[in-house]
């Protein structure tokens, strides 16, 4: 029960539909706060419930509870990101992506419960840290992304990415911040999202230690869902960033946008730099988690290597982000020097984009947000039920090749809104309408109802005592 309540607040599928609507219509600063802080209260509630009020033992109940959380988490992650991908409203897309991240957090939490139920404490702690670290990270980068989306809204007065474009030249700092947020949220190395997704994946990979074949194979499907989520998240943020900030402006508002005031940038800069710091020195965040939850682990120095070892002491996996940074920098310096020596000095000219010799590349010839999502919409058609209304207008009826104009209305639908909630609402309305018929307004009819109820109750009580 508590899980359903808090889960609704956190926005798990299928109890998620309030979230995109609220996040999109809330003021920009509030939605940033909602995603970053309020959502975490729900997760806090679930964590308290799972680990404080219950002592997890090896009863099958806890295994199934954990598996349930993992299944809901995987579905939330997948569904959230699938709808984020086709969304044209930037804030709604971010809200859907919050659902995805809650899903990832739930996968970690569920794994933690399952491992605890099988008496694998160190793995349980690993997945718990993964999940809590992702919670911390999510509050940082989602706050950052909502704030930048708010800035875009502030200077262009639109949230529809179809009307944006080219903002990287108008608002370079905001674009930079959004880029950092995107790289962090899709879990690319050197920023914080990578660490928590790495940890979650590692705890998913550790399922071979669970002594149950059925669970192992079903958790393999969780990996599949998780991997698909990561891939889709990448595509989502390429599309969001690419259409909003790159290429030509698609409307006058976007073309006339100006950078937001400095004070609006400072807050974002703090969040962006914490993304970078936590990405390179993840132990700062992990020490916070370890001390906050009194986990049985010693806080370690920030330059430590995260490593997971096998029972025979060989290295299962390890990750040392400062080392990665050193390699990246030295490769950069090396190749820069190499290119300079071999290539020498060359000139760079600016010229128009190649237009196949036709000339006049306008903002209409570039890819739009909707067309960018097209292949994905086709492949995952089950979830979207895409529908194209093509309305062609011909010059003559005889020649159907010469068209005067073509009007295409392409729609995607949210099957959860329509199928689940639509059906539930129409179903309950149907039942309620039937019930209304008994309310006739006649007093003697009501007396009959009271009578029938009384007899039914008496019979119920009578049969009850016979036992």
């Amino acid at each position: 029960m508590a899980f359903v309540g808090f889960g609704t607040k956190a926005g798990m599928v299928p109890l998620h539909i309030w979230k995109p609507k609220v996040y999109a219509s809330a003021p920009d600063n509030t939605s940033s706060l909602m995603a970053a802080v309020m959502l975490k209260i729900a997760i806090y509630g679930i964590v308290r419930h799972l680990f404080d009020f219950n002592a997890i033992d090896s009863s099958p109940d806890y295994v199934w509870l954990g598996m349930g959380i993992i299944i809901i988490g995987s579905i939330s992650a997948l569904v959230g990101i699938l709808y984020a991908l086709v969304e044209n409203d930037i804030k709604r897309a971010l809200a859907f992506s919050s659902i995805e991240n809650v899903g990832i957090i739930f996968i970690g939490l569920g794994l933690s419960v399952v491992f605890a139920a099988f008496h694998l404490p160190s793995l349980s702690v690993l997945s718990f840290i993964a999940s809590m670290f992702h919670t911390l990270n999510h509050s940082i980068f989602k706050g950052l992304l909502f704030m930048t989306a708010g800035s875009v809204h502030y200077s262009t007065h639109t949230k529809n990415i179809e009307d944006l474009g080219g903002l990287i030249k108008k608002m370079p700092w905001t674009a930079m911040m959004f880029l950092i947020g995107s790289v962090a949220i899709i879990g690319l190395p050197s920023l914080n999202g990578f660490i928590s997704e790495w940890l979650t994946l590692q705890s998913l990979l550790a399922v071979f230690q669970i002594p149950s074949n059925v669970l192992q194979v079903s958790l393999a499907f969780a990996i599949l869902a998780f991997a698909l989520t990561i891939g889709l998240a990448g595509a989502t943020f390429v599309r969001l960033f690419g259409v909003t900030f790159l290429s030509k402006s698609r409307s006058v508002n976007a073309a006339n946008a100006i950078e937001v005031p400095k004070f609006m940038l400072i807050g974002k800069a703090i969040l962006a730099s914490s993304c970078i710091i936590l990405g390179i020195l993840p132990f700062i965040g992990m020490n916070l988690i370890v001390s906050a939850f009194n986990l049985p682990y010693m806080p370690s120095s920030p330059f430590e290597t995260i490593s997971i070892t096998n029972s025979d002491d060989s290295n299962f996996a390890s990750l040392m982000m400062p080392g990665v940074l050193v390699i990246l920098t030295s490769v950069f310096v090396g190749v820069f020097v190499f290119v300079r020596i071999i290539g020498g000095k060359t000139k760079t000219m600016k010229y128009g984009t190649w237009d196949c010799g036709f000339g006049n590349l306008s903002e209409k010839t570039q890819y739009t947000a909707t067309s960018l999502a097209e292949p994905i919409r086709r492949i995952f058609g089950v979830f979207y039920k895409p529908h194209n209304d093509i309305d062609a207008d011909f010059y003559t009826k005889k020649n159907l090749y010469l068209k005067k104009s073509i009007n295409v209305i392409s729609t995607t639908r949210n099957i959860f809104d329509e199928k689940l909630y639509g059906k539930t609402i129409s179903g309950s309305l149907f039942v309620l309408n039937k019930i209304r018929k008994i309310q006739s307004g006649k007093v003697n009819a009501y007396i009959l109802y009271i009578m029938v109820t009384l007899v039914a109750l008496l019979l119920f009580v009578g049969f009850g005592t016979h036992e």
């Binding site: 192992q216 194979v217 990750l319 490769v331 950069f332 000219m349 570039q366």
Partner: protein
């Protein structure tokens, strides 16, 4: 976790440099074999080197619509791909940098490069770039789960995602008696073809908008930037080939470090990779480009193949 001497780190750097330097050669060999099997003479196998050097010396043209994203992308792409080379064992059975990162980091580094490449495709405001970007996007969305499932199978069988651990346990067991690994091999091969833009997925030798994926993303690049893009593509291919032979054909690694031993190790490595490259090139001449939306079937095959591998492990 053992500590390595400076000498061993030197060998590690040598391994990475080998991958980076030899990668255009493999491209050359593959082109030659494709040409031969199509009854053409083809350019010499060193041609990719000449191309890169020539491109590095050329002036470049940058689109006036583009932003700094377009200009930093080749650098980011090259740096991430070349850094991934540091984690791959070549002639040693381990990489001294193995502690720093695992195979998931390598995947992540590739994804970082690809993310910027897709953005650069969108940056130039032409429909070619966008076209390349969405196709690349679609492919990466589909390839990602297949790749993770394969890694999952390999990690299960060989106790870890750390590449050095994987390779040493692969060296200890014979792959021919492990059916799960064979399924992982099939899956990994399909993924490799998809990731390096090989024929059923992408036809890198055309400039026809119906077929191109990778080429249309790099269409606007010229000069130094194009050289970096092409070279990093070659390195990525080399890394995937090296991973493939390391994991599935883990024979003849250098045990005693001596000058002769290392040279033999390098020769063995080059032979293994060239055989794999010739095989891939040969397959490329046998198949035609598939329709874009049929590609998902092939990747689904990779996913189910690795899923079978997982089930084999647990049975």
């Amino acid at each position: 976790m053992s500590d390595f001497s400076i000498f061993e780190y030197g060998l590690g750097i040598l391994q990475a440099l080998l991958i980076i330097v030899l990668s255009p050669l493999i491209v050359g060999i593959m082109r030659k074999i494709k040409a031969k099997s199509q009854k053409r003479i083809g350019a010499g196998i060193c041609q990719p080197y000449y191309d890169i050097i020539k491109l590095l010396r050329k002036d470049e043209i940058v689109s006036d619509q583009s932003s700094w994203i377009f200009r930093v992308t080749p650098w980011i792409n090259f740096v991430t791909t070349a850094s991934a080379a540091f984690f791959i064992p070549v002639f040693l059975i381990y990489s001294p940098f193995g502690v720093v990162g695992d195979v998931l980091l390598v995947v992540g580094l590739f994804a970082l490069g690809k993310f910027f490449m897709m953005l650069a495709g969108l940056d130039v405001a032409s429909s070619f770039g966008g076209l390349g970007s969405i196709r690349e996007m679609m492919m990466s969305v589909l390839v990602e789960p297949a790749l993770f499932m394969t890694i999952f199978v390999i990690a299960l069988f060989y106790d870890g995602t750390n590449i050095s651990t994987i390779v040493s346990s692969a060296n200890d067991t014979s792959i021919l008696i492990v059916p799960g690994i064979l399924f992982a091999l099939i899956a990994f091969f399909i993924i490799m073809m998809a990731e390096t833009g090989k024929l059923p997925f992408d036809n890198p030798s055309t400039h026809l908008e119906l077929t191109m994926i990778h080429e249309s993303v790099v269409l606007e690049y010229s000069g130094k930037n194009l050289a970096l893009m092409e070279w990093s593509h070659a390195i990525k291919q080399m890394i995937l080939f090296a991973l493939f032979v390391d994991i599935f054909f883990p024979w003849n690694f250098v045990e005693q470090i001596s000058l002769v031993g290392i040279s033999i190790g390098i020769l063995v490595f080059i032979t293994k990779v060239s055989v794999l490259a010739s095989f891939t090139a040969f397959i490329e001449t046998l198949v035609a480009k598939w329709r874009l939306f049929r590609v998902s079937d092939l990747i689904a095959m990779a996913i189910s193949s690795s899923m079978i591998g997982v089930i084999f492990f647990f049975l």
